[in-house]
Symmetry: C2
Subunit: 396 residues, 2 copies
């Protein structure tokens, strides 16, 4: 157990519940006699480097609760991997403020940042507890059953596809929806929750975990058009060809300092697939939408389970850090065995999460590689919550 | 007052509340002794031509209420302008079933369809009441203060931009959001409701009602980047250059039988504007999203006022038709003068609505043509309903 001040920050892509984790950590810290000042760093480690810090002890409970319910990183975010020189500056700034607790909310890149800072701190003989608080809508953190942010983003995707399959039913043709997920298909797979009636879409689901073969895709669409008479396709932005290269890669020019290519914020993949369907499947009415940033920021579409768990991982990180059994780690969500949904939180080593990507297990993907299994639906349903009913006229 | 059977159908782009109008009409008809059978035609006039009709009197109240709360045309939709030959077939089918009441829910193209059928029926000496029930998320019907479907779509847009300006605040750069609206900018303009704090986006709003000049757009973005440090742009899919040609027209190949170009279901405009900002405004992080079909079909984001009014226009059409003062027309929503929001419903001639497009009044657009006015916000706020609060940390 150390006494000292604390700093917390947010990093990577925002989510709808990332502020729940922030507020969970801040409220837990405010109750802890071991912790003095609570600094919030603006835009991740950038705020430490530029000494752009805010006082989180002086925020009213009302403000904190309003922030918790608001999507997107309230402290601002950043995509930046610290260099050894960055770490030296970071330690100078933190030492000057007697910061002994460091919390960083983010995905596997953010876990890598915490891992680097933790290792550099040991080297610099700076006694600081370094904890990663999980967040990612992609649901791709190793060691976790699922991650905070995923459930709400999956809820958005499920609702969007529910609406879209109704829209497609009204006007027909092929509709292609491009969904976020660079290497992991969980979010795209969650579109399967939209199915209420046997002919509901998505009729085809393509994930980054299986090679995407253009000709096979065109044949799949033709088959669905013949059997259902219309077709809704859910496709991950990260789908890759048999050569392992992302289909969209010919359009990509940007990467961040963690080496990630920018796949979102463009309609290019949807437009490419539209052309394929028009030419190779001979369908005239083909539309594509790319759900884009709405998936991680849309207000009011929040899974209650996701919001609660996001708050608890924040609070757990602070409690574990104060306990001091380990001086660094990442809080992971584990699902309890049994029929009733329940989770526990465990601390895992940073290196088990940092940079690594979890993929959809094979048991969650059908043999043809164009749909999910019942096992996946059992897995994802409690994370997303109850969806609204869909009415249908008799005889329609 | 005529006694006979009734037929109702839905046409054009679906909306989130188009089934409220259907159910409003059906419930009113079920209470009316003048009306016998209630046919629903599948996919607009196509269902009449192909005699694909369903019985709407035998649907349970529970089913009807579930359908009312479900987005997208429950009877299916169509984009088809009837030819004289179509009309002859339609009258043969309707006469055989003694249909004396015809209701068609849709936008200005659907009103044109009703107008054609009404005029052809007179010529054919077929005594049938022909009424158009308004629907369009674009809000571009003449004679109407606003149209059913707009308030809910505008709510989706406002929420999406609320989330997006929070996302943009976290990670910076320029975000371009392409919003539906072929000729009228109402839906794009509704993005202004997303502003809660003075630095909130959208920072720039471009509408089809004002010429879109690429160089001026790039200069606007540069200015916002200098003053705010980031920029969210709301742009209508229908923006046109000073030559009057849609900016996106170079990408368009499809039109429907009413002569409308297909502008939605592609990310091309967003990607084009992204390139402009990168090259001409010198911004490196630029993303574009095209909201697409989610705007008209997303479940659970419904304006209560919109849902209620959608139901009432349906019921009003049936009551007016039974009254028989006029044998054809379109139900229009008029706003009562005064501070408190209230509306009345009036019947206007079909020719006043058919094919015509209402645009944003000049008083709703700022002088520079890149934002809306306070008068527009006063106009739109009651249609969209209360939006969720946005929390912000002190010092952030």
């Amino acid at each position: 157990m150390i006494r000292g001040n604390m700093l917390i920050a947010q990093s990577g892509g925002p989510s709808m519940v990332i502020n729940q984790s922030l507020v969970g950590a801040v409220l837990a810290a405010r109750d802890a006699p071991e912790i003095g000042k609570i600094y919030g760093s603006r835009h991740g480690i950038k705020g430490i480097l530029e000494e752009h810090l805010v006082n989180l002890r002086q925020q009213s409970r009302k403000v904190l609760e309003a922030v918790a319910a608001t999507p997107s990183s309230a402290l601002g975010s950043v995509r930046r991997k610290p260099t050894p020189e960055d770490c030296a500056t970071i330690f100078r700034v933190l030492r000057a403020r007697d910061v002994r607790y460091f919390f960083y909310i983010g995905g596997n890149d953010s876990a890598e940042t915490v891992h680097i800072i933790d290792e550099e701190a040991r080297r610099a003989r700076y006694d600081i507890a370094c904890f990663h608080i999980p967040k990612t809508i992609d649901n791709d953190l190793c060691e976790n059953d699922h991650t905070p942010g995923f459930g709400s983003a999956a809820r958005f995707v499920a609702l969007a596809i529910m609406g879209d399959t109704l829209d497609n039913r009204a006007l027909g043709g092929v509709k292609i929806d491009v969904i976020m997920g660079r290497h992991a298909g969980f979010l795209t797979a969650a579109s399967a929750l939209a199915r209420v009636y046997p002919d509901d879409g998505p009729h085809l689901i393509y994930l980054p975990e299986r090679p995407f073969v253009i000709d096979r895709f065109a044949a799949d669409v033709r088959r669905v058009m013949q059997t259902v008479g219309r077709c809704v396709v859910a496709v991950s932005e990260g789908i890759s060809g048999p050569d392992g290269k992302p289909i969209i890669s010919s359009f990509i020019t940007e990467t961040d300092s963690h080496g990630n290519a920018q796949l979102s914020g463009t309609g290019a993949l949807g437009d490419l697939l539209t052309t394929v369907v028009k030419k190779q499947a001979g369908v005239s009415r083909v539309r594509a939408d790319t759900f884009g940033y709405l998936q991680r920021s849309f207000p009011g579409v929040i899974s209650p389970t996701d919001a609660l768990e996001a708050r608890l991982v924040g609070a757990t990180a602070v409690r574990v850090a104060i306990e001091g059994t380990v001086s660094s780690g990442s809080v992971a969500i584990k699902r309890k065995p049994g029929k009733k949904y329940a989770v526990t939180f465990e601390v895992v080593p940073l290196r088990a999460v940092a940079r690594k990507t979890r993929h959809m297990p094979a048991a969650f993907i059908n043999r043809a590689g164009n749909d999910v299994t019942a096992a996946f639906l059992d897995y994802v349903r409690p994370l997303v919550g109850t969806l609204p009913p869909v009415g249908r006229l008799r005889g329609c």
